[in-house]
């Protein structure tokens, strides 16, 4: 039975995407095997078979998950900013 797994696009260099799954595992995949116009920060939903092999050809961009992660991150940043004493700091 196959499942689906999220991979976030950490960065793209030389037509190769570095993808990070939810367990922080990193995978390099040529962009030619992934959806067109893929951009850094987008999140992919990828079918994965029982052996754990990802079917990159059937990967699709999960816009909602990408937005959810961005909003969550922005909220965390705003919360952390409140700890900043501001100005120059003696460490």
């Amino acid at each position: 039975m196959s499942t689906e797994q999220h991979y976030a696009v950490d960065r793209i260099r030389h037509r190769t995407a570095l993808l990070v799954d939810d367990e922080q595992r990193q995978t390099l995949v040529p962009t030619s095997r992934l959806p067109r116009d893929l951009a850094e920060g987008q999140v992919l939903l990828v079918p994965v078979d029982e052996a754990g092999t990802a079917d990159w050809g059937r990967a699709r961009i999960d816009e909602a998950e990408g937005e959810r992660r961005r909003v969550q991150a922005e909220q965390a940043i705003e919360e952390l900013k409140r700890r900043d004493p501001g100005g120059d700091v003696e460490l």
């Binding site: 992660r69 991150a73 460490l91």
Partner: protein, 386 residues
């Protein structure tokens, strides 16, 4: 900078050490570019013993930090949230309990980033924004260079840091590319003693204007051996070598430690010399070796050609595609003058002219890929992109 050859540089030629870092002398700031493979992790130690870590590599650099006797940290900086800079950050935060954390405040969607933010939120670490401000690390000043508010990539929103200790200055810019380097130039920069090659020595991490303003005496490239990106770029290296007195590389020298004094003098130690005793080095003419692949042929193969007039020893050289399917040439492998060898993707018996990667499936991607060859020192000798 006067351009005078500082006494410390001459000492560097003989001052490499295989063991843990030497004790810090009174009145010196210490920068160590840790050998963490393809990533960045830079340790800054003030004369008073205060410690800051700029980036944390791809994975928690426990061994590298242990080599340098690092206990708790005063400050950790994440220049930008790519995995080769924050992959080890969660481990650093857990194990080394920094009191302050600074990043560029730009969100990312990876689980790596989410783990870091979750840890920060549940900790009592003081978060610092990357505004134009100064941080006092003992008697060392860290001048933060704020990234632009908007950029096309996370690289171009890297935090910049000028490390200042009297006349000794170092400049760290994460993976900033030329767009952000121009932004930093507009902020105003001093000339520096040490320049970290931005973006691991990529061509887009340097410009003649950048070097004309910063005027580094020493350039340090932080990159991994045989990395998939071909860092450092040959053209960038030429620019650095023309501008600076010396270029050090973590892939060749391992840890690079620079101890600077208030008068601007400095001393360098490296984890290993660039070319180990007995290691074979081959000086190649530009374009002497080429590689070409035929991904759509029924029998997939790469062709490696020696355009030179003499036989070329290629033992230990590594041929890889973009996603690290690799083949290492046997120790005795040679390519005759003006001739080629073929590396087939599948299985077979090598005969000195034909080699086999033994891959169970095709290696070279039909829709676009690249082939890259490194020599035994990790230098890129040939590259083919399609």
């Amino acid at each position: 900078m006067t351009g005078a050859w500082r006494a410390g540089v001459l000492l560097a030629a003989v001052a490499w050490a295989c063991s843990a870092a030497s004790p810090l002398q009174v009145g010196q700031v210490e920068l160590t570019f840790l050998d963490v493979g393809q990533g960045d992790a830079i340790l800054i130690r003030s004369p008073e013993g205060n410690l800051a870590l700029v980036d944390a590599g791809r994975a928690f650099p426990a061994e590298a930090l242990q080599r340098h006797g690092v206990g708790d940290l005063d400050l950790v900086v994440a220049t930008h949230p790519h995995a080769d800079h924050i992959g080890g950050m969660a481990g650093v935060l857990r194990a080394l309990t920094p009191r302050f954390y600074l990043d560029n405040g730009v969100p990312h969607t990876t689980s790596t980033y989410a783990f870091v933010m979750a840890y920060l939120q549940q900790s009592d670490i003081t978060y610092l924004q990357a505004t134009d401000r100064s941080l006092a690390l003992g008697s060392v000043t860290l001048r933060i260079l704020s990234p632009p508010a908007q950029a096309e990539s996370l690289n171009d929103q890297s935090v910049g840091i000028v490390v200042e200790y009297g006349e000794f200055r170092a400049l760290l810019t994460g993976d900033a590319e030329t767009t952000e380097l121009e932004h930093f130039l507009r902020l105003g920069l001093p000339d520096v003693t040490v320049l970290k090659a931005s973006h691991h020595g990529a061509r887009d991490g340097v410009s003649p204007e950048w070097l004309a303003t910063t005027r580094p005496e020493i350039v340090v490239v932080s990159c991994g051996r045989e990395n998939a990106y071909g860092h450092p770029d040959a053209e960038a290296l030429e620019l650095y070598q023309a501008a600076a007195q010396a270029v050090y590389r973590t892939d060749l020298h391992s840890d690079v430690t620079i101890r600077g004094a208030r008068d601007g003098s400095f001393r360098i130690e490296t984890g290993r010399p660039a070319a180990s005793a007995g290691e074979r080095t081959v000086r190649l003419a530009p374009g002497q070796v080429s590689v070409w692949v035929a991904p759509e042929d029924p029998v997939e193969r790469a062709v490696v050609r020696n355009h030179g007039a003499e036989s070329l020893a290629v033992g230990g050289w590594v041929l890889c595609d973009a996603v690290r399917h690799c083949f290492r040439f046997p120790d005795t492998a040679t390519i005759p003058p003006d001739d080629s060898v073929i590396v087939f993707s599948g299985a077979g018996t090598s005969d000195g002219r034909r080699y086999y990667m033994g891959a169970p499936q095709p290696v070279w991607n039909d829709g676009g890929d690249w082939a890259i060859i490194w020599d035994t020192r990790g230098q890129v000798v040939a590259r083919y992109e399609y």
